[in-house]
Symmetry: C2
DNA sequence: AATAATTTGTGAAAAATATCACGACATTTT
DNA sequence: AAAATGTCGTGATATTTTTCACAAATTATT
C-alpha cells in the first residue's frame, strides 16, 4: 500500500495529469514544462511541480519533463496496467448515459455489469453491458468492489447496504442522498443539483473578475 | 454583492444544508441540532456550526436550530425565491439524462432550453424542454447566463467560445476538456472519468479503516 | 428551585493546501 | 566557450479549511 504521504488534493489531480500527458504523447510531443501543462489543465504550475515532487525528481532543470517517461511513471502509479471492474447500479437515464459514455472506455476502468429493478431491462444489454436484476447482486457481482450508484434517492440506503454486504468498498454516489456506510467503505459524492446551485451561488455572490 | 467573507468551502455546502433542512421541514421536524444534521449530511458538526456562524447567530444554546427559521434564512441567502434559468448544451446521452433528471426540478434552477447540432433532435421537446440548433444560440439564449456543457470533448472549446460571446458567465462543464475562458467567466468542472479513477486510486493507496 | 444535561458560538490550534521566490542546473544561443 | 535563457525542486510563507475544547446560555429533570 506504499507511502500514503501524497496529499489527497494531489491524488485527485493525478488522473487529470495522466489524461493530458496521454494527449500530448499522442500528439507526438516529447517534452513538456510545468507551465505548458498548467495552461492545459488549468492548475497553477507551482502546484504541478509540487505534486510531481511527491514522487521524486521526475523532471530536468532547464528542460522540463519527458512526456514518455512521465507517462510511464504515472501508468504504474495509477495502476493503469491492470483493469478495475466496476458495477453500475441503477440503469435509469443517468445510468444508461454512463454505460454509453465513451470516455469511460479509454482507461483502465470498465463498467462490466449493470443492475436494475425494472424487469423490462433485466436480461438485455446496454452498449454491451449485461443488465441483471438487483436481487441477483449476490450471484453476479463476483468480487466487483466498486459501484456507481445511480438509483432513485429513495432506494439509495437500502441498496447501499446490499452492496456493502456483498463486499463493495468503493461507491461513486450520484444520488442526492448522503448514504451511510461502515468506515471501511469509501464514498465519493457527486451531487448534480448541489453543483449547479453552488455555481449559481458563486456567480451571484463572488466578484467576477479574478478567479 | 454583500460580504464575500464566506469561505468557498462553506459556500459549496450551503445547497446541501438547504436540501436537508427542507427534508426535515417536510417531515414536520421543528428543531435540529448540529449533531443531528451532521449525521444526515455527513459533515462534522463543528464544521456545520462554523459554517452557520458566518451568517450570524442562527441557533440557540441548549436547543439547536429552529428548522423553519433556518430554512427561511437559507432561502433568501441562496436566492431561492427567484428562478435561475439554465441552458443545456449538447443533448446526447448525458445531456438528455439531465433533462429527465427530476432532482433538478425541485429547486430554484430550471433547464429551460437545450441546444444540439443533430437536426433530428432540433425542433423536438425532451421532457418539455425545447431543443434548438446550436447555431441558434444567438437568438434563443435570450439572456440565459448559465450553461451545462455536455457536448463531445472535441467540440468543447469552440462551443464554449460561442457561449461566452453570447454572454454566458457560468458553465458547468461535464466534458473531459479543460476549457479556456476569460476571467469574468466561472467554470466548474465535473469530470466523471477522473472521479472514478481517483476513487479507485484512493481505494488502492489509502488505509481503509478511518476515513 | 436547584441540579443536570444539552448545545451553541468561537478563540485558538492544527492540518491541509497553495503560492512565492530563488538557487542550481541544463539547454540554447552567440 | 561564454553568456543568456529556461525550468525544476523546494524552503519558506501565506492562505484556507478543519477540528478541538470550553464558557455561556438554554432546556430538561428531579
Amino acid at each position: 500500500m506504499e507511502q500514503n504521504k501524497i496529499p489527497q488534493a494531489t491524488a485527485k489531480r493525478l488522473p487529470l495529469y495522466y489524461r493530458f500527458l496521454n494527449n500530448l504523447n499522442q500528439q507526438g510531443k516529447k517534452r513538456v514544462s510545468s507551465k505548458e501543462l498548467s495552461e492545459a489543465v488549468k492548475v497553477d504550475s507551482a502546484t504541478i511541480r509540487r505534486d510531481f515532487s511527491y514522487f521524486g525528481a521526475l523532471g530536468k532543470k532547464g528542460y522540463g519533463y519527458n512526456v514518455e517517461y512521465l507517462l510511464g511513471f504515472f501508468r504504474s502509479t495509477l495502476d493503469h496496467h491492470e483493469i478495475t471492474e466496476v458495477a453500475l447500479v441503477g440503469a435509469g437515464n443517468l445510468g444508461t448515459a454512463f454505460l454509453k459514455y465513451s470516455f469511460m472506455k479509454n482507461n483502465n476502468i470498465r463498467i462490466t455489469k449493470a443492475f436494475d429493478a425494472d424487469s423490462n431491462k433485466v436480461g438485455t444489454d446496454i452498449d454491451g453491458v449485461p443488465v441483471y436484476h438487483i436481487d441477483e447482486l449476490n450471484e453476479k457481482l463476483e468480487g466487483t468492489r466498486v459501484a456507481i450508484l445511480t438509483v432513485p434517492a429513495s432506494e439509495a440506503d437500502v441498496i447501499t447496504e446490499k452492496l456493502v454486504n456483498e463486499g463493495v468498498n468503493g461507491i461513486l454516489n450520484f444520488t442526492p442522498a448522503r448514504i451511510t456506510v461502515p468506515n471501511h467503505v469509501r464514498v465519493h459524492h457527486i451531487d448534480l443539483a448541489v453543483e449547479l446551485q453552488s455555481l449559481v451561488y458563486f456567480l451571484k455572490h463572488y466578484p467576477l473578475d479574478k478567479e
